[in-house]
Amino acid sequence: MTVAGGDSKEESWGDLLAAAQRGDGGAYRRFLIAITPFVRALVRRRIRADDAVEDVVQETLLTVHRVRHTYEPGRPVEPWLAAIAGRRSIDALRRSSRTGAREVHDPAAYETFAEPAANIGDAGESARVLGPLMGGLPPRQKEALELTKLKEMSLEEASAASGQSVASLKVNVHRAIKRLRLGIGKDMFE
């Protein structure tokens, strides 16, 4: 498949990926944007729920990033991509069937009171206290905390998204939580 390049010349996915292997960030970005609809269509063949589809698309892109060195220029990209998307879809289905077999989804179980506002608790107060403290964290600690705790990414995903190593992420999350604890009291993170 091809994609319109910056100089309006058509570039094949194979050429873009080969350029990405050489470290061309622009070509890599065009490649990832071009393949995303194709990956999404592949994932939709196995998975129906929209939010789950998007999760698997992201996992597929992260895997593409990790194994981009295995693509052999000159060979078609589609079977390579289809295998990765297929594998990540199967992994998601297995995870979901394991979860479904062991857990019951009952949204009402999380509610303490019938009045919706009562379940929000002191979220506003927490946000008021946490906001300035988060803003005061060093940038790398703040980024590590946001990716792993607020966006709930795995360490590997957060590492790919931030460029920080897994070890450095762990250290930065630990330090960030320590600073926040000092600011607001320990019990909030227990």
């Binding site: 960030g25 194994v67 295995t70 390579w80 295998a83 990540r88 790919a160």
Partner: protein
């Protein structure tokens, strides 16, 4: 405007587009690995004590012994080559079946050898022989030869590690069984053959169990 998580991820990944060392084609990598393993095997045959067991065992059945050896070697080599192919996303699943004809030939010829030995020797053809030594040899040699193979296969971070581990395990066990023939100065009985098959199964099962730490899948 809201930035969707997938778009943000694409931005983050493309910002991290450091050059990567592209893997050589699987056949090239498999050939280099097999050459390294052959060198190791050659040193083992030359340096470890043995009393020319091939000549002792193959006397009168040279063709049979030669074909059996060739089939074991072919099984090992084809399984290793297939493992390198299957480790790359999108390669045809037909590679899984590539070593099977050679495996069938190897087991068939070994079985035929056992049968001839049984006819020649009578009931003593069922003896246990040195079967447990053979099992220990195949498993130990597989662990030694398997470590560099696993390291080479892990470079691809295979997305589906089980077939890669199974083929790698079969390949390394068959190559170890091939190497065993140079230290096996007696005919293979049916019991020996069964133990050889069990040893191959143990190596494949170990490879399957250890596939994640060994192959570090993506």
């Amino acid at each position: 405007m809201t930035v969707r998580p997938t778009d943000a991820l694409i931005d983050a990944l493309s910002a991290d587009a450091a050059p990567v060392g592209r893997l050589a084609p699987p056949l090239v990598r498999a050939s280099a690995t097999l050459a390294g393993l052959a060198l190791f095997g050659l040193f083992a045959i030359l340096l470890l004590p043995n009393s020319n067991p091939l000549a002792m065992r193959g006397a009168g059945a040279e063709m049979q012994a030669g074909l059996e050896l060739a089939a074991a070697l072919l099984t090992g080599a084809l399984a290793v080559i297939a493992a390198f192919h299957v480790a790359i996303p999108g390669r045809p699943r037909g590679w899984l079946a590539i070593p099977l004809p050679a495996l069938a030939l190897w087991l068939g010829l070994s079985g035929l050898g056992c049968w001839r030995d049984l006819v020649r020797r009578g009931p003593s053809g069922w003896d246990l022989g040195h079967s447990m030594d053979c099992l220990a040899f195949i498993v130990t040699a597989s662990l030694v030869l398997g470590a560099p193979l696993a390291w080479r296969l892990s470079r691809a971070a295979p997305i589906d590690p089980l077939p890669v581990a199974a083929l790698g395990g079969l390949g390394i066990a068959a190559l170890s069984a091939f190497l065993l023939q140079f230290f096996h100065p007696f005919a293979v009985t049916f019991v020996d053959l069964a133990v050889h098959i069990v040893a191959v199964g143990i190596v494949m099962a170990l490879a399957g169990l250890l596939r994640r730490p060994m192959l570090r899948p993506a």
